[in-house]
């Protein structure tokens, strides 16, 4: 009889008959086995994409930023679109690991490790876009406030672009620390059951000499809780600051106070979609269907339909304010050049993918269908990419002076750069899936006795009893 009790009405978070050792076996043994053919195929495709991306970036650095199709009217195109898109994807990882920890959502334990890894890789991809966009990348360190010999001339602390530097680098650092501190005990688990010398050595170094001492666990819990508490406002602040890049300017379509909450909701929306994409593949290939259950996907689909609807409300509010605000430039941007005009198609792709299609998740059957979830996760990410494209390009391509109006389509180095970040992301993810425990082993063990299927079945006896009897027999039995 376990000390904690959870109603059997709640779906189990771990299916099948498990004990602690079985959990270790299920999650660690794929790391100890040789990867399958699919892994190699996926890994080499990712490496090829990464190589093409590196070539595209080399091309741009060698010949200058002119090889991109940006022009005087459209100064931000695919690069900043991709930057915001990748940063947004990262947000779901922090939401799952931090905000759901504070809300005591048990289901996060099945998905948090992979989602945090996704955060870190997504932020790595995102950070490259503004840096490469600078043109002379070898001067990228100018964005740091370091004592220099030019005065010293400092950076402008009033600029949202500088806030971004601090926000993204802090976000990356804190996410990495949070992720790695959670990995220490699991690396120790791999180390202690390792059969080969090399694995024992490497995971021994990676585990920092973790032993599982109670005092260390007590500090570890305190650390996780405070890091979760810090990451929660941090994740909200990061996309808020990204939205300030636009909102503090005076471009019609950008200059609105709705941007911070709207961007944060959109970030969580696209991030959860990406978590679904990754985990549906991961659970299949690594046989982890009992840990990443349909219930987990349903929970994420609920978040997707909620945040998708929040984003939808924001789109409608923007349209309303463009009309109600009686600013002719604002009105024209929204009604003539965004929802209509040469780039109007991108607006309607965005609307269809982000607002209309996620409404399918109001139906339980759809939320619990793996195929629908996978399909929708891709659709949502396409939609969210177009949201950023719409915000950036449809505001820029028709500016105040009709003679400078322009149109924009990317050149091959821009597309190649974007594909390259996919290569980087998936190369990292494949390595992670092979060498790291994709599910937090220790955390699953800590919820196993309350939320594991075979343990929940034992509780059915108590469910039949009246409350008083349960309280008398179990809760107060010391």
């Amino acid at each position: 009889m376990h000390l904690k009790y959870e109603s059997t009405l709640r779906e189990p978070l771990v299916d099948g008959v498990k004990d602690y050792h079985q959990v270790t076996e299920d999650i660690i043994s794929p790391i100890e086995a040789k990867p399958g053919k699919l892994w190699y195929v996926g890994f080499f495709i990712s490496l090829a994409l990464l190589g093409f991306g590196a070539f595209s970036v080399f091309w741009q650095i060698y010949f200058g930023v002119g090889v991109w199709n940006l022009n005087k009217t459209i100064g931000w195109g695919w690069d900043i679109t991709n930057f915001v898109w990748w940063v947004g994807i990262g947000h779901a990882g922090t939401l799952i690991s931090a905000i759901l920890l504070l809300f005591r959502q048990g289901w996060r334990t099945g998905v948090n490790r992979a989602a945090e890894a996704m955060t870190i890789f997504a932020v790595m991809c995102a950070g490259q876009f503004p840096i490469i966009h600078m043109g002379r990348v070898w001067m990228a360190f100018f964005i740091l406030p370091y004592p220099n010999t030019r005065g010293p001339v400092w950076v402008n602390f009033n600029s949202p672009l500088l806030w971004d530097v601090f926000a993204i680098s802090t976000y990356f650092t804190v996410s990495l620390l949070f992720w790695y501190s959670g990995l220490l005990p699991d690396f120790a688990t791999i180390r202690d059951r390792a059969k080969t010398k090399l694995r024992k050595l490497l995971y021994g170094v990676a585990s920092f000499g973790w032993t599982g001492s109670t005092k260390h666990w007590q500090r570890h819990e305190a650390l996780s809780l405070v890091l979760a508490g810090l990451s929660t406002p941090l994740v909200l602040s990061v996309h808020t600051i990204v939205s300030f890049d636009f909102a503090t300017s005076v471009i019609p379509g950008w200059h609105t106070t709705i941007f911070p909450p709207y961007f944060v909701a959109g970030a969580i929306f696209s991030g959860f979609a990406m978590v679904n994409t990754l985990l549906i593949i991961t659970r299949k290939i690594l046989n982890l269907e009992e840990y990443i259950t349909v219930g987990h996907m349903e929970a994420m689909n609920k978040v997707i339909v909620l945040t998708g609807s929040v984003v939808g409300c924001a789109y409608l509010t923007e349209l309303f304010m463009a009309w109600y605000g009686a600013n002719p430039y604002e009105f024209d941007t929204f009604f003539k050049y965004r929802a209509a005009g040469p780039l109007g198609w991108s607006y309607w792709i965005m609307m269809t993918c982000n607002v209309i299609s996620p409404q399918i998740f109001w139906f339980r059957k759809m939320r619990r269908s793996v195929a629908v979830t996978f399909f929708m996760s891709i659709i949502v990410n396409i939609g969210m990419w177009f949201e950023r494209f719409v915000i950036i390009c449809t505001s820029l391509y028709r500016d105040y002076l009709p003679s400078s109006w322009s149109y924009y389509r990317p050149s091959w180095p821009e597309v190649g750069f974007y594909m390259g970040t996919f290569g980087l992301f998936f190369t990292c993810y494949f390595l992670f899936a092979k060498y790291f425990p994709v599910i937090a082993v220790a955390e699953i063990k800590s919820i196993l006795k309350t939320s594991g299927e075979n343990f929940k079945e034992k509780m059915e006896v108590y469910e039949e009893q009246p409350d008083e009897k349960f309280a008398h027999d179990v809760a107060h039995a010391h």
Partner: protein
């Protein structure tokens, strides 16, 4: 540190472990540590460990970040190089908030993780004695230190009576050392080797 003698007992279930921990304390044995594969809530209290002060350290690191950011930006804009940026004020507090917030979080997080690693002696290359290979897998390992006043057999019987199994006596280094997990390089083992040679 020092090489000490221990009695090690394994538990399969945390529900058996808890009463055993309480009895060790009432019996007056020196409980070295309990190693568990995952955090067990309340075990620290059952063992009589004091609350960690890591939160307080985190708070101090956080306010250090806040003051660093605010004072540095104000010093740059007002003292070191007062630049007129479109006639904006030299102390624009609202514009300083984002960076101040980010540095608060950064200092708190980095400081806390470093303090955590320092307190728990965690570092790449650090090694400690692992009392049982499955203490990070599925077993709860209770380690009782043998002092001059304790009888090893008595402790073994005590653990047996309280639900432990695979009880054994071990001589081990109680602290940490720089070593590799693929080698038996405990400091006292090295000493034994040189004596034999």
């Amino acid at each position: 540190m020092a090489v000490k003698n221990f009695v090690v007992g394994l538990f399969d279930d945390e529900a058996v472990l808890f009463p055993a921990v309480k009895k060790v304390r009432t019996a007056g044995y020196k409980l070295h540590d309990v190693y568990t594969p995952f955090p067990i809530h309340g075990l620290d209290h059952a063992m009589g460990l004091r609350e960690t002060s890591l939160h307080t350290a985190g708070f101090i690191y956080g306010i250090t970040g806040t003051t660093t950011a605010l004072s540095f930006m104000s010093w740059v804009f007002n003292v070191d190089w007062p630049l007129n940026i479109g006639g904006k004020p030299h102390f624009p507090l609202p514009a300083f908030i984002p960076i101040t917030f980010e540095l608060t979080v950064l200092f708190a997080a980095v400081g806390m993780v470093m303090t955590f690693c320092y307190l728990c002696q965690l570092m790449p290359g650090v090694k400690k004695h692992i009392f049982h290979q499955r203490q990070t897998d599925d077993k709860f390992v209770m380690v009782i230190e043998l002092t001059d006043k304790t009888n090893a057999q008595e402790v073994k019987n005590f653990l047996q009576a309280n639900g432990a199994h695979d009880i054994e006596e071990q001589q081990a280094e109680a602290g940490w050392w720089f070593g590799r997990f693929d080698k038996d390089d405990e400091p006292y083992l090295r000493k034994v080797k040189t004596v034999n040679a």
